[in-house]
Amino acid sequence: MYNREVRGPLIIGDKSFKQISTDILAPTETKPGKWWFAMMTLATLASIWGVYSIYITVSKGIGTWGVNNTVGWGWAIINFVWWIGIGHAGTAFSIFLLILRQKWRTSINRAAEAMTVFAVGCAAIFPALHMGRIWLAFFIFPYPNTRGPLWVNFNSPLFWDFIAITAYLLISFSFWYLGMLPDFATIRDRATSKVRKALYGFFSMGWVGSSRQWLRFESLAFILGGIAAVLVVSVHSIVSTDFAVSVEPGWHTTLFPPYFVVGAIFSGFAMVMTLMIIIRKLYKLGDYVTDGHLDAIARILTFISLIMGTAYLTEIFMAWYSGSEYEMFTFFKNRITGEYALQFWGMIICNALIPQLFWFKKVRSSLLIMLIISLFINLGMWFERFNIVITSLSKDYLPSAWASYTPTWVEVGTYVGTIGIFLAGVLMFFRYIPMIAVSEVKTVKDIGTRKYD
């Protein structure tokens, strides 16, 4: 039951259906502004640097990275976990709210899912490169081969990772695309040029909006939503087993799966907030992405930030409580004080403290401050992954094997490149795909006035 008097309308202004389509489809039907081309140039330049770095990695080998025998996982794994974390929120957001029938998701789910698809795509680049000989990557498929047939190790978290990411990419893409079918059909039927009609006609796959199609559409959305909810939780749990299944101090803990899942949703929600503020500001869609929507995201972020803070404290407590001198050393000598203290305190401040500003109503209603905090959260989440990956590896059991790690320009370039690819993807999304699910927003136009809302 949606109480309109308490919670307010989800769309501001008494708009007709036609007006909704026109407002939201405007960016796909008009030429983009100058800022769009400027950003696209920037994204392309970043991607070119990234592609060049990848070329160097593939042609010369992993030796061009700063990783060594002790710190075998560098920026590549940090960035992999960071991207896949960001990629989590789209599906988490869209699907948990779908299952809980929270109607305010309708203005945001499309952009969140788009972000997921691009972020998971960026994430997949890193483990692929980290294989070293990427041209033999197909060895990871469990297919009957001429090498025995020798099967892959089904007990290895790295193989679980491969399966999880592949499945996640496919399912988040399908869910995203399914939601776009009706909107592509709307664009197709509004189109005036032949090319547009043919192109969007092809991508809408013959959607006509008949009651039979809607019935099956909703059935499928709930099936995919239901199973993807399991996937959201399991994928990042599996990523955490990459660490937790080892015996490294600071990694070997049962806290890791929930800690990683919550962290992933945290960074992803922050990215959703960044994107929604940009969409709202640049495309003037404030009537659809209302203050109420951003306020709701900010509240969720505050809550998750508290969970993150608790997780950090729990880790430190357990290090002390375990009585293991290696755990003690890792947390107290290596993270809190020591070579990587900057990243540790960066993580605490950005993730556990700064988001607590959202308790203030003033902060939650200022777009600029929200944008800045959301960027800080993603910076903090990057620090968190740095903290986990590098500190544990650099100094573990044998002092004679201790080593430091600094990235080379190739690693930095690959990271910047993926940001470029992500940005380019998002910009293309702004330009060619309705940023808000038009058909779904139409259902919440009069929310709270009908008996079944």
Binding site: G148, R190, V208, L215, R216, S234
Partner: protein, 172 residues
Amino acid sequence: MSSSHLIGVFEDESGLVKAVEEIREKDLKIEEVFTPYPVHEVIHAMGTKSKLQVFAYFYGLFGALAVLAFLYWTSVIDWPINYGGKPFNSFPSFIIITIILTIFIVTVSSLATFSGRAKLWPGKQHKIYDLRATDDKFVIVVSKDKTDPEKLSTIQGIMKAHGAVEIREEEA
């Protein structure tokens, strides 16, 4: 094959719902209703049911068993490898792959079923009765060939009574 249709266009959901419900109560046949977003009363009144969820359940059941069987076969029968003295059939760690691949199988096969049942695939030729049905109009289509002229006028009357803004006939 030529066919002709009676097309009623509505501006809002409530008129459409009442019209569809009344037509269906009189046991008259509606060929199809086109709406810009899902209207549950209409889907309900049209009487079509989706068995997709039942299918998905069986896809999942089959998928889970198939994956477990595959893991058992590769790890125990085809090429057993001793990992630190652990059992070949390391069931607990197989569960993870089973869950993920089951989800994968359910997704792919449900998508295929959906594509077939909802008749959606790339490059499909489709018939549109009213271009505005994907934007802001609600459209009822009744086949003229399969309905008696007498009943057709009843339907026309119902549509008009519930505020159809446009009623027209189309030969195609």
